[in-house]
Symmetry: C2
Subunit: 394 residues, 2 copies
């Protein structure tokens, strides 16, 4: 038996207890929690086979009451001595995609981001926001099969683009490869076709939160996206953090969203604060270039889930919905490079080099923290990816 | 032992042999083929457990060579006497969703449809087609979890809409509920992230074809779709036929697509004819209101799959991609009611009643046939659904 040492200022103390899927050597992936710099094997700790599986889905499907009970049980068990074989050093494990993704919807919930992109993509339009933007959380379905775990290399996508001066579209590697720093939300328990998830019930449906990088090829996107929305400009890859922070751990981070004016329709009304005081950090080749503040997001995760099911669409365990780029009001809080560099016109300094969009070999890492219980801060792991050169396509 | 009687003019003779998932009474769903008005249990017929499963996915994942071999084996076996316990009357079985859907992408491949919708949705735009339309097969990801098998009732969706004369959006049941008659294509074998499916290899990747009804709430869609594309206007339900016609059966139906001018970029070039001479029929409460001709489709399924993977996005066994509404040049070949009734301005006669969009209790059935080997015609089963009143939302 052993005890797990946790530094007093660790972002992974007993008030966090994120869930992830790990393996050691050639062993099959299974569910663990992170405590300090240690991964605790939950199948061993709790003696429950639901954690001996290669994704969180079966556990998530057991529902809210079980999430509460398991969190309490883990908290109690790790306070004392636990079996040696349940404990692995973080450096000794490989982390995997924590969830078998069902449907993935990406929203567009930051007013600053939507307005900035409106100005950049539709400069002739006097209103940067579309007429619908303040009435509903605009979103679209993305490619579930392209969601990968942090650390997966990102091959520069090829596709069609057509610049202002091109007579016809050209094909080749994207020349405006970008990121979108977002949070992703995992649906734990789904709903049948015809049912809805009212805002007031979203707490019981949303299991947890991950960091999410919605890699975006802006040149491909700009040419393809009218009228049916983004497709190949986004579908090549999205990176999530391996650690899922339980929504239960984020109670102390709940804050009101910005004032929603005009008042949303009744099905989108919130009775409790559904903003999240999460501070993100975006590092480009190790240099922090932005600190996007999630608390600035206009639409909340509860509203996103209520919206996406209000037409009776079924939701499923493993559905992922992402917030859309998190951008604050200031330049150094913008969560996409197209905004940070204003469409490439205003480069940023990255380790002494001037950069606009991503170059081959670049690495982007998103991290975050939020207030937890007892004055602790909670970490979200990281979502990192490195750009490899395009294959073919020239 | 028994022989299966098949009428000479059956759409389900030995040159078709579609795959489906069926159950008898309380038995677990398993894979069968349709022969005349009979369902043949393939696990029993062939003694292979891959057919004793509740979806086609494991069989599809075995790949093209195996699809060819199994088709040959079934053809040989059903020509003689087969075990009694392999044979079920069509009326005695329940059909299920044939595939566990991975990602679902809906295209927009009919020039007639795209132009009609351009005129209806963007009347101020002198060009009905967007500038990108003839350069790439425009498509978007839809909600995989909303795909249901033929016969599933469709509850009228609720959502936001905003008419020209509305100062603010209103919430309630859709008042412009529509269909889109399409074909859906099932990906049998996938590709890893970073790989592509060239047009020339699409034959080996696409397993088969289903009928597809992309139910659409036009009022919800019109309000939400700018700039990220359709979401709740489509995500409540899509209906597919239970029978998957193998692409191998459709060799005699292969025809050239309409001339593609301007010539597509090289990655979209076709060496062999990839159009399909499939005649669809749309019945509204039993009255045929349209006969959409698939051979009119501008973009081919091989081009759709090549496009969706050209950026390195992974494809998976169970991916479904749909053609988009199939509309021909004439009014009575339009595959969506918004076109057929020109936005509701020109009602159609349905059993003596004048109709524009769907009313509660209405039933829509899509069927199709295509030339098969030896002069036979091949049937696709049917994709049918009945509209139930909205629940809540008023």
């Amino acid at each position: 038996m052993t005890t797990v040492p946790v530094a007093a200022d660790s972002l992974y103390g007993v008030t966090n207890l994120p869930y992830g899927v790990f393996s050691v050597g050639e062993s099959a992936p299974r569910v663990g929690t992170r405590l300090g710099d240690t991964v605790v094997d939950l199948a061993v700790l709790l003696g429950d086979d639901v954690f001996a599986r290669p994704s969180l889905n079966d556990f998530m499907a057991q529902g809210y009451d079980r999430w509460v009970a398991v969190r309490r049980e883990i908290t109690e068990r790790v306070a004392g001595e636990i079996p040696d074989e349940a404990v692995h050093a973080l450096d000794d494990v490989t982390m995997h995609l924590p969830v078998e993704v069902a449907d993935y919807v990406d929203f567009y919930a930051s007013e600053h981001h939507a307005a900035n992109l409106g100005r950049l993509f539709r400069p002739d339009n006097p209103e940067p926001l579309m007429p619908n933007w303040k009435h509903l959380p605009v979103g679209y379905h993305g490619r579930a099969g392209s969601i990968v775990v942090s650390g997966t290399d990102i091959v520069r996508p090829c596709g069609q683009r057509k610049g202002k001066d091109d007579a016809v579209p050209v094909f080749g590697p994207s020349v405006r490869l970008d990121i979108e720093a977002e949070l992703g939300f995992l649906v734990g328990t789904g709903t049948a076709m015809g049912d809805t998830v009212p805002v007031a019930e979203a707490d019981r449906a949303i299991f947890g939160v991950v960091l999410f990088n919605d890699w975006s090829a802006r040149d491909i996107q700009a040419w393809e996206y009218v009228p049916l929305g983004p497709n190949l400009g986004k579908s090549f890859a999205s990176t999530i953090s391996p650690w899922v922070v339980p929504l239960l751990a984020l109670e102390p981070a709940r804050v009101p969203t910005p004032v929603q004016d005009p008042r949303p329709l009744p099905y989108l009304a919130m009775e409790s604060p559904w903003g999240l005081d999460v501070d993100l950090s975006v590092r480009w080749n190790g240099c922090e270039v932005s600190r996007p503040p999630y608390r600035e997001m206009y639409w909340s995760p509860a509203q996103m889930l209520a919206h996406v099911t209000v037409n009776g669409a079924p939701s499923r365990t493993g559905d992922v919905f992402a917030s859309g780029t998190i951008s604050g009001p200031d330049r150094d809080t913008r969560g996409a490079f197209i905004e940070l560099t204003w469409g490439g016109a205003e480069p940023v300094s990255v380790g002494g080099e001037q950069r606009t969009f991503l170059e081959d070999g670049d690495e982007v890492t998103i991290t975050a923290s939020a207030p937890g219980a007892g004055g602790a801060r909670l970490g979200f792991g990281e979502a990192t990816g490195r750009i490899l050169p395009a294959t073919g396509g020239d």
